[in-house]
C-alpha cells in the first residue's frame, strides 16, 4: 500500500482519536516498516491491517465501519493529487466509470509499485451503475467510504448497496449497485 494512504490514516486517526494516537499504535504493532511512512513509499498491506485492527480494538468499533469512515475521509486526499479527474467528469456515474479506465492507470504511472483493484462495470444508465470490485485486498468497505466521499465531493446524492460481498457470500468479488437519488 502506498505511503499516501498511511499518511491519510495517520491524519484520520489523530483527528478522530487524539493526537499521537497513530504513532502510539504504530509503536505497539511491531510493523515490518521501521521508518516513518512517506507518501511516495510502498509499504506492506499487512502493516496497514495491523494498524487498523489495533485501532478498532482500542476504540471498540467495527472493522467495516472504521474502513468506511476512513474511505470517506481518504477520498478528498486522493483526489487532491489531481482534481481534474473529478472536475472533468459529468457527475458521479461518469466519474466512477473513469476510475478504472483512467485514474487507476494514472495512479500506476504516478506511484511506482501501486496496486489498484479492478472494476468491471455493468447495468450502466445515466443514473445508476453496477461495479464489480475485484481485489486481493478485499477492502470493499473502504471502497464504500470512497464512493460516499466521491458523491459528497461531486455534490450528488446516491444510494448504494452491495448486491454481493466477499465477506458475506464468499465470492471472489464484491458487487456494488449505485444509484443517483
Amino acid at each position: 500500500m502506498k505511503g499516501v494512504v498511511f499518511n491519510a490514516l495517520e491524519e484520520f486517526t489523530d483527528r478522530n482519536y487524539g493526537e499521537d494516537q497513530f504513532q502510539d499504535i504504530v509503536e505497539e504493532c511491531h510493523l515490518e516498516t521501521k521508518d516513518p511512512f512517506v507518501g511516495p513509499g510502498t509499504y506492506p498491506d499487512s502493516d496497514l491491517m495491523k494498524i487498523v485492527s489495533r485501532l478498532i480494538d482500542i476504540k471498540k468499533v467495527k472493522l467495516d465501519w472504521a474502513l468506511k469512515e476512513f474511505g470517506h475521509f481518504l477520498f478528498p486526499k486522493l483526489i487532491s493529487i489531481n482534481e481534474s479527474y473529478a472536475s472533468e467528469s459529468k457527475g458521479i456515474i461518469d466519474f466512477l466509470q473513469r476510475v478504472d479506465s483512467i485514474i487507476h492507470i494514472e495512479v500506476k504511472k504516478l506511484f511506482e509499485g501501486a496496486i489498484t483493484p479492478t472494476f468491471i462495470y455493468s447495468e450502466i444508465t445515466e443514473t445508476s451503475i453496477n461495479i464489480k470490485y475485484i481485489s486481493n485486498r478485499q477492502l470493499c468497505f473502504l471502497m464504500e467510504g470512497l464512493i460516499l466521499g466521491a458523491s459528497e465531493y461531486l455534490n450528488e446524492r446516491i444510494d448504494y448497496k452491495q448486491l454481493e460481498c466477499h465477506h458475506e457470500h464468499g465470492c471472489d468479488y464484491c458487487l456494488f449497485q449505485i444509484k443517483k437519488v
Binding site: E19, D20, Q23, D35, P36, V38, P40, G41
Partner: protein, 277 residues
C-alpha cells in the same frame, strides 16, 4: 509525543524523501541516457533505410547508362575493326557522357551516406539543390504516375542548410505524399516556395484532403504511422522535424486550401558572399 521526537520523525521523513528524490533523479538520468542512445540508433536505422531506398533506385538508374555503355562498346569494337575514326570518336564521347552520369549517381549515394552532424551549415542555392535533386533523387518517383511539380525559381533563393539533411527531408516528404495519395494519374504533389521575413517556406502540398484530426497531434511523434509495416516505421517525420530544427528551421503540418501540406521553414541567407558559419 514530545516535540523533539516529532522533529526527529520529521527529519527522518525528510531524509527518506531526499533519498527517494536522489534515486529517482539518478534513474531519470540513466533513462535519459538510454533514450539518447535509442534515438541515435533510430536515426542510424532511418539513415540505413533511406540508403536502402536510394540504393534500390540508384541500381535502377545505374543500370540504364551501363546498359547503353555496353551497347556502345559493342558498336565501338565494330567501328574499330572497320577503321571508321569519326564514328569511333562519336561513340567514345557518348560512352564518356554515360560514364559521367554513372559517376554522378554514385556521388549522390555518397552524399546521402555522409553524417549530417559532421556536415557544416552552409549557404545552399535552392535552385541548384532542386536541379540536382530532380536529377539524382528520383526515389519512388521513377515509376510513379503522380504529377510532381518542383518549385520554379525566377530568382535564386539561398538558405542556410546541409545538403544531406535537406535531401533527406525533401525525399521523405515526397515519399510520404506518394504513399498517402496512391499512384494515380489524377494525383499530384506540388512544392511551392515563398519568402516570409527571415525564412523561406517550402510548402509540400499533395492532393490528399488533410490528415485525420485525431492524428495531427501525434504526427511528429516517433513511431507514429498510419502506413502499413511494409511502407513505414513512423520515424520519418520525427527525424525530418529534428533535422529541420538542426538547420535553425522547422517543419509543420498545415491544411492548404483543403489539401494536406507540410511547411519546411528554412533560414534565409540575406547576406551575399557569406557562405559558411
Amino acid at each position: 509525543m514530545s516535540v523533539e521526537k516529532k522533529i526527529e520523525r520529521l527529519n527522518q521523513k525528510i531524509s527518506i524523501l531526499e533519498k527517494m528524490i536522489e534515486d529517482k533523479t539518478r534513474e531519470n538520468f540513466n533513462n535519459q541516457e538510454k533514450l539518447k542512445e535509442q534515438q541515435a540508433q533510430i536515426m542510424f536505422n532511418a539513415k540505413l533505410a533511406s540508403i536502402g531506398e536510394m540504393a534500390s533506385s540508384i541500381a535502377h538508374e545505374v543500370n540504364n547508362p551501363v546498359g547503353i555503355i555496353e551497347g556502345q562498346l559493342r558498336r565501338l569494337r565494330h567501328h574499330i575493326e572497320n577503321g571508321n575514326l569519326e564514328k569511333q570518336l562519336n561513340l567514345v564521347e557518348k560512352i564518356e557522357n554515360n560514364t559521367q552520369r554513372v559517376i554522378k549517381i554514385v556521388n549522390g549515394l555518397r552524399q546521402l551516406s555522409k553524417s549530417t552532424e559532421s556536415e557544416e551549415l552552409k549557404v545552399i542555392s535552392l535552385k541548384d539543390f532542386f536541379d540536382e535533386f530532380k536529377e539524382y533523387n528520383h526515389i519512388k518517383t521513377i515509376d510513379s504516375s503522380v504529377e510532381i511539380t518542383f518549385p520554379h525559381f525566377v530568382d535564386d533563393i539561398q538558405v542556410w542548410g546541409k545538403d544531406t539533411s535537406l535531401a533527406q527531408i525533401v525525399t521523405n516528404l515526397i515519399n510520404n505524399s506518394l504513399d498517402a495519395i496512391g499512384d494515380d494519374h489524377a494525383s499530384w504533389v506540388r512544392i511551392i516556395v515563398a519568402q516570409a521575413g527571415d525564412f523561406c517556406h517550402l510548402t509540400f502540398i499533395d492532393c490528399g484532403r488533410g490528415i485525420d484530426k485525431a492524428h495531427i497531434s501525434k504526427l511528429f511523434d516517433p513511431f507514429f504511422t498510419t502506413k502499413s509495416h511494409e511502407k513505414g516505421t513512423g520515424v520519418g517525420l520525427n527525424i525530418c522535424k529534428k533535422l529541420a530544427r538542426e538547420l535553425d528551421g522547422d517543419l509543420n503540418y498545415q491544411l492548404t486550401k483543403g489539401n494536406t501540406s507540410f511547411v519546411l521553414k528554412l533560414k534565409l541567407n540575406k547576406i551575399k558572399g557569406d557562405s559558411t558559419i
